[in-house]
Symmetry: C2
Subunit: 391 residues, 2 copies
């Protein structure tokens, strides 16, 4: 039935997912990883759909790779557990989520839990002790701070290595199956050039890889050394495995967005998600357009405001005419201006016309919608994807 | 059943609505308006719930006031049409929404449509001409630009008055029931002090009121002269009716938020919505806390970044200790720091502890959730409100 709906008939604002673009992004990331000898642990947080999750493993050239994913919430873990059996929950576990996490862990091969503090370890052990009927070991990753300073234990602290000892050879060794170490280079979004990102990629690989090597030298088994962020995964060093890295965990690359374009990680034609909006009024006297996609459709992420050559403020650009930019976003409407000040062609941009917007941050934008209209290369809607929502 | 759930048992992140606070905010705004001799056209966009919509008319001291509301989307108009019969749709109508709007208009006393361009008028007339079975007149407001320069026709242009003529005495007079004029002072959020907001309130009242007087002097009937924005409605001039204003249309005041606090429009105890989050890790070595409420729970609205004495960046503050501020928000986690640099008391803020956050912008934050946990003065959850979602 969906086949009969045309883009021009859609209620706006809404999201278009460009199917061939997304699939190509997935293939390219897999090829890049495999040519470097590492696996992709595909992140689901950007799209939150089973369909695109499967695209992330299409034409997987490394036939031996385990299909392994990463999610940003326990709700996602539950959602994806029907189709994936090796899942990593990306946030350090809090005691109030231990029970729910364990139930998911029981249902699949392994729900890997992240820890970076003794309290995480204690809460898992306490659950196991008070529920002796559950004998399955917790499957865990140690989160390492590679310099982003958001989450993760410092690899320089002895207490970090003590944690690994505790769960592998120490008092709690019977409760855990230590899977390896993980870092996230979120600070890559603050880089100014692809060269800076490339340096950061080496730095993350070095910090996390070196800590993996240290643990191995101390006699601990470290199966996975996982690094990532889409910017870093777009600029990996050729000798990645020499650092000891075994897998990367990008997510945004499925959709990309304006931030990734501005950082030099993709081109406009690689962006797999557009917000479709309608022009609801025009103001030739101010050379401005008003559209029906505001902060609740685009998100209010201001994007890479640190980039010097960027037109700001800016909540997205118009796909068909990148000189047109969203300069202000209210809850349900946004204001579009010509970034170089040239007169807008109001014979083309009329009230009722639809425009496509490349959003600043596709992870947040996609999360604003209850479904995605999926289009093929001929711009025909041929599927609807329903993302996981909430917590 | 909901009565048995305690705050400490809630899955985080989630939203708490402070029932007595919200009801008091509604009563105070009504009292303020009525003491000045104007009506409140209550905006639904912040909370999007029927329950709070009704709170906005509780203890309405002006017994003669029509119960009239304003909404930000047609989806909201449909949602609220079961309980409210006089609704204003706040965005200029686009041709693709004319049909849906008219169907709602048929179902209630009046769905008022906003216009600021001849194309809006034309599209409504065209609908009526091609659907002659529908004889009900369109009920419309003219949107006036009072200086915010987002939407609205300029009161200084002859073409604006020509539009009023066209639909009241001109060619299209049989299709329309002209309800009056409307302005929105969104630029009040860029003010620096309550005094500046007070000046802006006078300015909006003057610009919009004067245009209403001009239309009347030209012989047009202007029943409603509507101004607003929560900041302006918090600092109205005592002689508001002398400007010709008949109604105000605030929305955010039901919940308020950190931006309203920082602008001087409310106190922390007036904020009616808190985001409940769990501490998922602590980093004493960096004097930082990690919580499980990120951009998808708080929104990524950076708030009043223009205020000079503000700690920035800042995506919210901790209710119980306003020295603790969210300095960085990722998709699902945020980083909390002590804003004056004093050591965080980690014996109080432990992994697993819950904290309440005052968000920057409650309209966007509330929209991130599928339901609100409503608490009474004793912090017991006694109701759940389900807001309207999407478009």
């Amino acid at each position: 039935m969906q086949k009969d709906i045309k883009i021009e008939d859609l209620t706006t604002p809404c999201v278009l997912v460009l199917d061939p673009v997304v699939r190509n992004n997935c293939i390219k990331m897999n090829e890049r990883a495999h040519s470097l000898g590492v696996d992709v642990r595909a992140h689901m947080k950007t799209h939150k759909t089973v369909e695109i999750g499967k695209y992330q493993f299409e034409k997987n050239q490394n036939k031996d790779q385990v299909i392994k994913i990463i999610v940003s919430t326990l709700s996602e873990a539950r959602f994806f557990s029907k189709d994936f059996s090796n899942i990593l929950y990306a946030t350090p576990i809090s005691p109030n989520k231990v029970d729910e996490a364990y139930q998911i862990h029981l249902d699949i091969e392994r729900l890997n839990i992240m820890f970076d503090n003794i309290e995480h370890v204690n809460s898992m052990v306490e659950f196991s002790k008070t529920n002796p009927k559950y004998s399955k070991r917790w499957s865990v990753f140690l989160k390492i701070d590679c310099g982003y300073h958001r989450a993760g234990a410092s690899p320089e602290l002895q207490s970090t290595t003590d944690l690994v000892h505790l769960i592998t050879k120490g008092e709690f060794k019977d409760y855990f199956d230590f899977q390896g170490i993980y870092s996230h280079s979120g600070h890559s979004y603050k880089c100014n050039t692809p060269e800076e990102i490339k340096e950061l990629a080496k730095e993350e690989a070095r910090v996390t890889g070196d800590y993996g090597k240290k643990l191995k030298s101390l006699g601990y088994h470290v199966e996975n050394v996982s690094i990532g962020s889409t910017p870093v995964c777009s600029h990996l060093p050729d000798d990645l495995t020499s650092y000891g890295v075994t897998e990367i965990h990008p997510g945004n690359y499925t959709f990309y967005d304006l931030m990734q374009m501005e950082l030099g990680n993709c081109s406009i034609d690689d962006v797999g998600v557009h917000v479709l909006a309608t022009i609801v009024s025009v103001y030739p006297e101010r050379n401005e357009i008003l559209i029906d996609a505001g902060s609740l459709a685009l998100s209010s992420d201001p994007g890479c405001t640190h980039l010097k050559n960027r037109n700001s403020p800016n909540f997205g650009i118009v796909y068909d005419d990148t000189n047109l930019r969203i300069v202000a976003a209210s809850q349900e409407v946004s204001k579009v201006q010509s970034s170089n000040g040239s007169p807008i062609d109001f014979s083309k941009y009329k009230i009722g016309s639809k425009i496509r917007i490349i959003p600043n941050h596709s992870c947040l934008t996609a999360a604003m919608f209850s479904n995605y209209h999926v289009i093929n290369k001929d711009n025909n809607i041929f599927k609807t994807f329903k993302p996981n929502k909430y917590w």
